[in-house]
Subunit: 407 residues, 2 copies
C-alpha cells in the first residue's frame, strides 16, 4: 500500500508546486469551520501581518456613508471583524453568534490587501471581485433550497445564440428541468432570469444557486417544471470573462451599451432563439421574466415594450429611477411609461412582482414606482425584506417568485 | 451623467463591502501584466510581509527531490521566484524572459501562505488548490486553440445520469458541436474524456480548455464535429464539490473506490446513457476514449475490458504501473492484461495513442508498457513532450489526439 500511496501522492504533484502545499498540509489551517454551537471560525495564516480582518455578509450589517465626489451615499453594509493573531501566526475570528443557515460570501483583508480564503476552494466571482463561499444549509431553512439534494436534477447548458443586434454569437445559460430529455413530446413554460450590472450569464447559477433552487422547488412540487434561461445583459459582450474572445484581461464595468436600450431592444431575438431550439409553450401565458438590479430595470422595460410577451414579471431590487432612461440611445424604450403601463395592465398580466430590501438604496425609486401603480389601481405583489442590495435577497426573491408561475 | 455614474456605482456596492474595494481602486495594483516585450510582471501588495514569491508553470522547471517517509521522489517542478518590495509595499517580479504563448497557472506565497492573485479574477480549482490563470494567446501558436474565437461554438451541458453502480445520479459534462441543434437528423461520433485523480467532470473544461480546443479544431476543419463527454471518474462522488449533496466542506483526495475497478466496471452505463440521450453513431467505429493520469489508467482498462467499444484510445501520462491493480476490489478488470491486449489488437482498433512528458515520474511505467507492445508487434502512436505531469502537456495531447479521430 505504501508504494501506491506514494505514487498517488506523486500524481497529485502533477499540477506543479501548487498542489503539493495544499495537499500535503503546508499550512494545516482549517477555515472556515462551522462549530457545533453554530458559530463559525475563520482562520488565516500571516505571521508578519499587523492587521487582519474578515468581511462578509454573515456579519450584521450597519449603516455607513460612502463619499463620492461631493455627494454622500448612505448604505447598509457590514463592517470587517478584526481577527486575533495566535502564537503560530494564524489569525482567527469566531462569530459571537450562531450563523443562520444561508449562503454567504467572505474575504480577508491582510494589511489592506483583500484576499480570499486560501483554505477554502469554493470561490465566486462577481464583477471583478472574488469571494470565498460559506454555505450553511439546514433542513427546513430556506438555505436548504440552495444545497444539492438527491432529487431529480435538471440539465444546465451553455449555448450560443446568433445576435443580429450585437453582430456576433452570444452565450446563454439554459436550465431544462429533470425529465425534459426523457419526455421528448412534452412542452414547457419558460422563465427568463436577468443579472445585475457587471454580472453575466453565469451569475445566477453561481452566486444565485438558481439551478439548485429550481431542482428543489420542482422536486417538492412547489414549482412547475419549466425551462429557465439566464441571459447576458451586457450586449457589447459575447459571454462571461475568459469565455469572451476579447477579454483575457480583467473584467471591467465600463462596458459600452449598458442600460441604454440596446439589450431591451434585442430581447425578442433571445425569445425567438429559445422558442425555436427548445420545446417551449411559445405563448404569453407560459412566459415569465425577472431580474435583479439592472436586470430588474431590464425586466420592467422589456415587459412594457412587449406587452404580449410575458404573463409574469419580477422586479428584484430593480435599478429604476437612476436617470439612465433620459440619456439612453434607444429613448423609445423608456418613453411613455404611463401609456405603456396602461396597455400592459389592460391585457391583464397574471403577475407583476416587486421585491426589495428595506435598506436598499433603490427603495425610494421603487416606492415611487409602486405609488404610481397604486394611484392607477394597477395590481402587483410586493415583498420587502431586511437588508440591502445583496445576493441573499435575490435568492430569496427568486425562491418566492418561481412558485407563483404558470399556475 | 454624474448622478447616473453615482447610482451605478452604488448598484455595484450591492455585493457588499467586497466590490467596493475591487471596483473603486482600493489597492490599484495591476497584475498580471503582459508587457510589450513579452515579459510578464506580477504584483502583490503586502506592506508588512518579509518574503513574497510567485510560483507557476510559466517558470522554467528544475529537478527537485521530494522526501516522503523513507523514500525520495525526483520530480521536475518550478522553483518559486522571489519578488522585490517597492516603496509602496507592492512586491513585484518581472520574468527575465519572454513568456511563450500558453495557458499558465500561478500563485503567490506570502510569508509561507499560498494565495491567488487578488487582482486577477481568473481562477481555477484543481483538486484542493486554487490558482490564478494567465492566458497568453498568439495567432499561430498552439495556445491560440485555448482562446475563444468568433467561430461557431458548441454547447456545453451539465447533465445527470442514473448510475446503477453508484446507486445515485451522477453528473457529466457533455459538449455537442456547433450545428448539433440545427441539424436534428445528424448523428455524431463520441469522444469520452477522463480526468486525473482528484479532478472531476469540470477539470477538462476549466484547466483543460477542452471545449475551446474542440470549437477551434472543428472550425479550422482539423477535427470532425463530435460529441465529447467528460465523466466524473470518482465513482463514490456525485459531482464536483459544491455540486455534490454531501460535500460542502473542502474537497478531499481520500475518496473511496478510487482506482480499484468500480469506475471501469460502471463505464458501459455511461456509454449507454449517452447513446440513448444524444444523437450518436452508436458503434465502435465512431467511439473514442482518452484520459490523463488516472484517466489514462482508466482509459487503458476500460478499453481492454470492452474490446468492441472503442476504436480510438488515448493514454495521456497514464498512471499505469502504480501497483493499484494488485490491491483492487475488482481484480478481474486488471487481470490477464496480455490476453486482453491480444484480443483487443486482434480486432484491429484504429488507434492507440500514448503521450507523456520526458520528465514525468510515470515515464518508466509507460516505457515498460510500450516495450510490451513493441515486443508483441502491436501498433500505437507515441508522443513525448518536454516537462512532467502537467496540464500544459494534457492540453497538447488532447489537441494532437482529436484531429486523428473518426477519419
Amino acid at each position: 500500500m505504501k508504494r501506491i500511496a506514494l505514487v498517488i501522492a506523486a500524481m497529485l504533484l502533477g499540477v506543479g508546486a501548487f498542489a503539493q502545499q495544499a495537499l500535503f498540509g503546508g499550512a494545516g489551517v482549517e477555515s472556515p469551520v462551522i462549530n457545533e454551537d453554530g458559530t463559525v471560525t475563520f482562520r488565516y495564516r500571516a505571521p508578519k501581518a499587523v492587521k487582519v480582518t474578515v468581511s462578509g455578509d454573515f456579519l450584521q450589517p450597519q449603516k455607513v456613508e460612502y463619499k463620492m465626489g461631493d455627494q454622500t451615499i448612505t448604505a447598509e453594509t457590514t463592517v470587517p471583524a478584526e481577527m486575533k493573531e495566535g502564537a503560530d501566526g494564524v489569525w482567527e475570528y469566531t462569530t459571537p453568534f450562531k450563523v443562520a443557515p444561508e449562503l454567504y460570501n467572505y474575504t480577508f483583508s491582510v494589511d489592506g490587501t483583500q484576499v480570499i480564503d486560501p483554505n477554502n476552494v469554493f470561490v465566486n466571482r462577481d464583477v471583478a471581485s472574488l469571494t470565498s463561499v460559506l454555505l450553511v444549509p439546514e433542513a427546513g431553512a430556506r438555505s436548504d433550497l440552495y444545497a444539492i439534494h438527491r432529487v431529480p436534477h435538471g440539465s444546465v447548458t451553455k449555448v450560443w445564440y446568433p445576435s443580429k443586434t450585437a453582430g456576433f454569437d452570444r452565450r446563454l445559460t439554459v436550465y431544462t428541468p429533470a425529465g425534459y430529455e426523457d419526455n421528448p413530446k412534452a412542452k414547457y413554460p419558460v422563465l427568463y432570469v436577468l443579472h445585475g450590472i457587471g454580472g453575466d450569464e453565469d451569475a445566477w447559477v453561481t452566486q444565485g444557486r438558481a439551478t439548485q433552487i429550481l431542482d428543489n422547488l420542482i422536486a417538492r412540487g412547489q414549482a412547475k417544471p419549466m425551462i429557465v434561461v439566464f441571459t447576458n445583459g451586457n450586449i457589447s459582450q459575447e459571454a462571461a470573462p475568459l469565455e469572451n474572445s476579447m477579454d483575457y484581461t480583467r473584467p471591467t464595468m465600463s462596458l459600452p451599451q449598458t442600460m441604454e436600450g440596446t439589450f431591451e431592444t434585442s430581447f425578442p431575438e433571445v425569445v425567438s432563439f429559445i422558442d425555436s431550439h427548445y420545446r417551449t409553450i411559445a405563448k404569453k401565458q407560459s412566459r415569465a421574466i425577472c431580474g435583479l438590479s439592472m436586470g430588474g430595470f431590464h425586466t420592467l422595460y422589456i415587459t412594457l415594450n412587449n406587452p404580449d410577451m410575458f404573463n409574469y414579471s419580477g422586479m428584484f431590487s430593480a435599478a429604476i429611477g437612476t436617470g439612465s432612461e433620459q440619456t439612453a440611445t434607444h429613448k423609445e424604450i423608456y418613453a411613455d411609461v404611463d401609456g405603456k403601463l396602461a396597455t400592459y395592465f389592460s391585457k391583464k398580466p397574471a403577475l407583476l412582482w416587486i421585491g426589495i430590501g428595506s435598506s436598499d438604496f433603490l427603495i425610494q425609486a421603487n416606492n415611487e414606482f409602486r405609488a404610481k401603480l397604486d394611484a392607477a389601481g394597477y395590481p402587483y405583489k410586493y415583498m420587502e425584506t431586511d437588508g440591502g442590495h445583496i445576493w441573499r435577497n435575490w435568492r430569496i426573491y427568486l425562491s418566492e417568485f418561481v412558485p407563483l408561475l404558470f399556475k
